[in-house]
Amino acid sequence: MHAPHDETYLNARVGIRSWLLTTDHKRIALLYFAGITFFFFIGGIAATLIRLELITPGPTLGSPDFYNRLFTMHGIVMVWFFLIPSIPTTMGNFILPMMIGARDLAFPRLNLLSWYFYIAGGLITIAALLLGGIDTGWTFYEPYSTFYATGYLILAVFGIFVSGFSSILTGLNFIVTVHKLRAPGMTWYRLPVFVWSTYATSLILILATPVLAMTLLMLLAERVLHVGLFSPQLGGDPILFQHMFWFYSHPAVYIMILPSMGVISEIVPVFARKPLFGYKFVVWCSIAIAAIGFLVWGHHMFVAGQSLYASLAFSFLSYLVAVPSAIKVFNWTATLHEGWIRFDAPMLYAFGFIGLFTIGGLTGLFLAALPIDVHVTDTYFIVAHFHYIMVGGAVMGFFAGLHYWWPKITGRLYPDYWARFAAILAFFGFNLTFFPQFILGYLGMPRRYQSYPPEFQIWHVLSSAGASILAFGYALPLFYFAWSILRGSRASANPWGATGLEWSTRSPPPPENFAATPTVVRAPYQYDQGKPCMQAGDV
């Protein structure tokens, strides 16, 4: 029904069944994108209510129980239903196969099954939150979660358990795809860094998520059957729960940040018109982060009653894992040297990412020092640290990737000046929101407090003011992206002058991605005199 040359994956088939039963990695990416956006706004609403609540020292919006359920919802929805799936399932699904010249992922039907696991897990957890929510925090520490937690803990924990399968199957799909479906000529050192980062993320996805599955099953067994596994009232050891929970949850924070690092490593060379500085170092830093990331979880438990020996070992290993991240920041900065830097929206988001991630990473060094962590753990210093990495890093990277691949995904261009304004607004709104929380943290303001001593109020008011700016900065893209779909001008195959395989095919791409499987002739990010040298030979 469409002439072959203008048939795209969007109009190749129509109807609800063509979406809900699709095995096209590009459509599944859009299905995930819808889910991600939905859960981002639910988590965002919870965040807004939290910031409103904390404007005054006393209870403002409701009872302490309401606040406890609010921050638990914010934590669970943001961690498991937005941050962990965000980049791998949307841009990973859409762009990775195109970047390596493949027609689809290794197991397309498994990919669709992953989406259904994600949606099923999400709906079960949302049901638990709507029915009354749970008041344990996203960490479900024992023995509170077994005997003292009220609310629909079993339903929510089961929802997270189900969504875990989506992570495992997606990771498995990506790993086999990168190994087996690379186009001819696409050697490992010609892979774009986004593919390497998504590969490293997938390693963590399949090696850490099963441990979460078992931990949540044991938690359910203890709460439902009253058998002694973790709570001392039944002879168990609560610190064992913390060990098993953080064995997953620390690598999980690397699941959240590694894809964003991959996106930034794609954007910086393109808008600097220069090869990435130290490609091999950046690539092996991603793998190193994925590997060493499994050795450091004990730094969440320095004051939890862990043995002195373990605390010393985990402190040293946590400093080790910081080195690859530092190397990446230096390499991004060095890439700018002697480049032709353009400041389009993706590049502004990338600058924002590097700035905020640097601050987030450096504050991590404070937390790895044992005595400082003893003072600041469980305070707002920690809240500020992980928001700088998650929101300043992962979400900024998500928006950077979105702005960078939007023309390829939708075939439309968005208004660049509005996008740049949104990037700058988000950057300043973010800093005003979370930098005061560092000061609050060192002052000793504990986490998860609805009411706090009055002398901390000034910083909370500043933080809440920043939150409103940040919320506006995140809502803006919704408008101009919608506008771009309706009336944005058509995007060419390569609007940014990038060199990857995905820019050698039409935007939006045809269902089979490439008319003929491309052969790769050179490494990524090659420019001469500012002109891109495409990875795909003259196809």
Binding site: L207, P232, Q233, I239, H243, L295, S307, A310
Partner: protein, 97 residues
């Protein structure tokens, strides 16, 4: 992989099973757990290398197989290190029955 190899492996597995069960009843103190785990590793290797044909597989498949066990080892060793060095003074807690 020929039938003969399969049944030779099966026989070796049966021998190892007998050995591990027998050795469990010999009072060797903490050596018992070491022996039983060593025999278990031996049996697992027979199944992995011969029945699951890891012996003839490409290096990549062997790496995938080893990765799972290696990461499990990381978890066991690091949590075990904590428990090994833990000196707790147990306090009474009213057992909830």
């Amino acid at each position: 992989m020929s039938a003969a190899t399969i049944w030779k492996c099966w026989f070796a597995l049966m021998l190892l099973l007998a050995a591990t069960t027998a050795s469990a009843f010999v009072p060797l103190g903490s050596a018992n757990i070491v022996i039983s785990l060593a025999i278990a590793v031996a049996k697992a290797l027979i199944v992995l290398l011969f029945f699951m044909e890891l012996r003839g597989s490409r290096a990549l498949v062997r790496a995938f197989a080893a990765a799972g066990f290696f990461w499990l080892l990381i978890m066991i060793v690091l949590t075990g290190a904590d428990y090994w060095h833990r000196t707790d003074a147990l306090a009474p807690i009213d057992q909830v029955r």
